[in-house]
């Protein structure tokens, strides 16, 4: 890379002044430093296989990730239907035994958290948007990126295979707590759990390949003028989440390896002396709590791996569609980074009643509640962005508003659960279920949907149907809210989670009606998602053409040479960036937006923010 420093001759500015990190002291106000790195050469596939299957274009890889993740999401959705059927109307599904129920619970959880949300945000949106938004031709290592997707694909295949092996998939709960995970008697304790562990390991390996690509692309391959503080918050969110993933997944990998060894070699990392059915097993001396520490050392950052990209994306969507800069950009960036960093110091708040050293409660309650401060700041900044904006109430904005409501709701119930002694009566009840579905299920899902409606015109060149979109939104939002809001009160009653049947205690019986209602809502919400699929098919056939930059946004992904962007993204020349992506409604400007590539000389009389 060290050679050929001069291939940017054509667009090298006349000024030779140096820039020392601050504004150029040169008379040329449009001056941007010459390129440090020669343009990336790309491998263009020609056959169908190299172009669409083993493709090295990050955008195609992004779509591949997206579709695979959506497939797993649909599987997860169907599993949740079956669970709700059992909970709302026990015995309605004749084949449903407790074994099946617990297998569905486990697979639903694991699929939704890891294979759906993580892969969708980082693999899907990350691959598609990072190179476009930072102004790169592609990811830095396209081949590795391609392998990353196929590793993920194999991981999904292995996971799905576990549905068809003898004994079925594992039914140990998505947290896979030993000893029960690998003991006979647990559903899927034979092949099911092994496939799950192998699949997770493959996922981690595949993700590491992808994650390295995202990080190095953002850190080392930005276009000229694109400083870190000029990146859209979407990129910040995905970037921080990827850092978390790179550092948190090792703990998952290690615990998966150790558990695999416990299972097949009979080691006792997590296994103490156990008597099952009157027989002493060949284990001894291990510690189940160690697994919980490892798991949550991964698991808590994992929550933010899902949440941070959602934070970033929703900031951009809100800003674009209320035609106003995001309020307090710097604080938003620091909040994302701060939340990410803190997330490594809070893991054991999932373990307040796990029997760990009781004094940890003080440490983890404090660190956990500290996180509430930057998170609250983000919420304030979103609503302050709306304040005095010019809000387009289109489908995208509706999803964002839905996100704010569900996220604030879920965030506040998080304060209950993070505050150690408040957690004691509520942990392991339906309150927890309601909390995390609201905050890391529904809220990120709202963002995903908003992002789909927002970026679909870029990916396909056509607008999704607004009317169908609005129906989709209201069904999903109102339905999901009426699933999870009442569910908190089940938790207050004291109904424990992971109960196959719950109506033989007086205080649980009182909630029969509520459970039926929740189940009905769940069926409707699930079915409403097919509106989106219908919308996409319809749009691809007869949708309205979008053209260049249909939302009048500022960031680079809308400024490509073609719509949808071609391989290499930006045609002959990479764009040169002069400003942050939030110059909306600048006083003195002709239009209500100034794209990132607009040089200062073209908007002389405006009062733009110095970035």
């Amino acid at each position: 890379m060290s050679d050929e420093y001069d291939n940017n001759k054509t667009y090298q500015a006349q000024s030779s002044e140096t820039m020392g990190g601050s504004a150029p002291a040169s008379p040329d106000m449009d001056y941007v430093r010459p390129a440090e790195i020669p343009d990336q050469e790309l491998y263009h596939g020609h056959s169908f296989i190299t172009k669409w299957v083993f493709c090295q274009d990050a955008k195609v890889i992004g779509v591949q990730y997206f579709l695979t993740a959506v497939f797993t999401g649909v599987v997860g959705l169907i599993l949740s239907w079956l669970m709700r059927l059992q909970l709302g109307f026990p015995g309605a599904a004749g084949f449903m035994t407790a074994e099946h129920y617990y297998q569905f619970v486990t697979m639903h959880g694991m699929i939704m958290v890891v294979y759906f949300l993580t892969a969708l945000f980082l693999g899907g949106f990350g691959n598609y948007l990072i190179p476009l938004m930072v102004g790169a031709r592609d990811m830095v290592f396209p081949y590795v990126n391609m392998i990353s997707f196929w590793m993920f694909f194999i991981a999904v295949a292995v996971l799905m295979a576990s549905f068809f092996v003898p004994g079925g998939p594992t039914g140990a709960g998505w947290t896979l707590y030993p000893p029960q995970t690998i003991l006979p008697g647990t559903p899927g304790a034979g092949m099911g759990i092994l496939l799950m562990l192998v699949s997770l390991s493959l996922f981690v390996i595949g993700f590491t390949m992808g994650g390295l690509n995202y990080l190095i692309t953002i850190l080392q391959a930005r276009t000229r003028g694109m400083t870190l503080m000029r990146m859209p918050l979407t990129v910040w969110g995905i970037f921080t989440a990827t850092v978390l993933a790179m550092l948190a997944f090792p703990a998952l990998l290690v615990s998966a390896i150790m558990m695999t060894l416990d299972k097949i070699l009979g080691t006792s990392f997590f296994m103490p002396t156990i008597i099952q059915a009157g027989e002493v097993l060949d284990y001894g001396g291990g510690s189940p709590i160690l697994f919980q520490h490892l798991f949550w050392f991964f698991g808590h950052p994992e929550v933010y791996i899902v949440a941070l990209p959602a934070f970033g994306i929703v900031s951009d969507l809100i800003s674009v569609h209320s035609r106003k800069n995001i309020f307090g950009y710097r604080m938003m960036v620091w909040a994302i980074v701060g939340i990410g960093a803190l997330s490594f110091f809070v893991w054991a708040h999932h373990m307040y009643v796990s029997g760990m050293n009781p004094w940890f409660g003080f440490f983890f309650a404090t660190t956990t509640l500290i996180i509430a401060v930057p998170t609250a700041m983000k919420v304030y900044n979103w609503i302050l962005t709306l304040w005095r904006g010019n809000i387009r109430l289109n489908t995208v904005m509706l999803w964002c508003l839905g996100f704010i409501v569900t996220f604030v709701n879920g965030g506040i119930t998080g304060i209950f659960l993070g505050n150690v002694s408040v957690d004691v009566p509520l942990s392991d009840t339906y309150f927890v279920i309601a909390h995390f579905h609201m905050v890391m299920g529904i809220a990120p899902l709202m963002v995903i949907m908003g992002a789909v409606y927002h970026w679909f015109p870029l990916v396909s060149g056509k607008f999704l149907d607004e009317k169908l979109g609005k129906w989709h939104f209201w069904f999903t939002f109102l339905g999901a809210y009426s699933i999870y809001f009442p569910m908190h009160y089940l938790g207050f009653i004291g109904v424990p989670r992971r109960y196959f049947e719950m109506y033989d205690s007086p205080y649980m019986t009182s909630a029969v009606g509520m459970n039926e209602f929740i189940s009905m809502a769940a069926f409707i919400v699930g079915a409403a998602q097919f509106i989106l699929i219908y919308n996409i098919i319809k749009t691809l056939k007869v949708g309205k053409k979008a053209g260049h930059n249909p939302w009048k946004a500022n960031s680079l992904e809308w400024l490509t040479s073609t719509v949808p962007p071609e391989h290499g993204n930006f045609g002959e020349r990479l764009p040169v960036v002069h400003r942050w992506p939030y110059d909306f409604s600048v006083p003195g400007a002709k239009e209500d937006y100034i794209t990132q590539t607009t040089p200062p000389s073209e908007v002389v009389h405006t009062e733009v923010e110095k970035t």
Partner: protein, 237 residues
């Protein structure tokens, strides 16, 4: 101090430079090759893997009621009827450090475009790594012969064998992968893939450059680094 020359930007040293680098456009790590940056981040991630292994080991060993075997005796070697503690481990450490040294020199000669020296040194490193793996295999077979298994051992706590085989096995896998790549890159150096502007790599549009030797070197030194920790925590504790 390494001061890559960046056009249009005065690179400052120290923390001032760090702030400037971070705030600048295009790259954060000035003058650092993409592959090298990627290897560093990968090693950071891998550090977390090994840290988790070692932390688990610490937790497991610390909380067992059964006596932990005394490594000094378990890993002793009988030479001429005298039991020398940790002899094999000492030799393994010696071999690994030697190979680390040759690797460092290979990187140096790579940057000086001294193809012959670089190639031989990479090859020497590979052979050192191979020796290490061989000795580890010997150590494993010796322990297995003495009745140490992942699930039990005659000396005390069962977890001793579990952690030993798992952690050294994981490290050994890293070494083995490294050895394979060292051989490949030794071939590439000798075949002149990095000369005259570089030959295009297998899976990439990037041209070969001696920086690849440095990237490989980072990995190899990391393997050595991990061994330092394993040596301290496993054999000396």
């Amino acid at each position: 101090m390494s001061d890559p020359k960046i056009e249009g930007l005065q690179l400052k040293p120290g923390f001032r430079g760090m702030a400037d680098d971070t705030g600048s456009d295009q790259t954060m790590f000035k003058g650092v090759h993409w592959g090298k940056a990627m290897m560093w981040i990968f090693l950071l991630s891998d550090t977390f893997v090994f840290s988790c292994f070692l932390i688990s080991y610490m937790k497991g060993r610390g909380s067992t009621l059964v006596d932990w075997p005394y490594p000094s005796e378990v890993f002793a070697l009988h030479v001429g009827g005298v039991s020398v503690p940790l002899l094999l481990i000492a030799i393994m450490t010696f071999v690994l450090i030697t190979s680390s040294g040759t690797m460092a020199l290979a990187v140096k000669y790579g940057y000086e475009k001294n193809r012959k020296m670089c190639g031989w040194l990479v090859l020497a490193t590979a052979l050192g790594g191979l020796t290490f793996v061989g000795m580890q295999a010997f150590e494993w077979s010796k322990l297995i012969e003495e009745g140490v298994r992942p699930w039990e051992n005659p000396f005390g706590a069962a977890q001793f064998g579990s952690f030993f085989f798992m952690i050294t096995g994981f490290h050994g896998t890293h070494v083995s992968i490294g050895v394979i790549f060292l051989f490949i890159y030794a071939y590439k150096v000798f075949a002149g893939h990095y000369e005259n502007g570089g030959k295009r790599g297998w899976f990439t549009t990037m041209k070969g450059d001696y920086v690849e030797i440095e990237i490989l070197g980072l990995y190899w030194h990391f393997v050595d680094l991990v061994w330092v920790f394993i040596f301290a925590f496993f054999y000396l504790w």
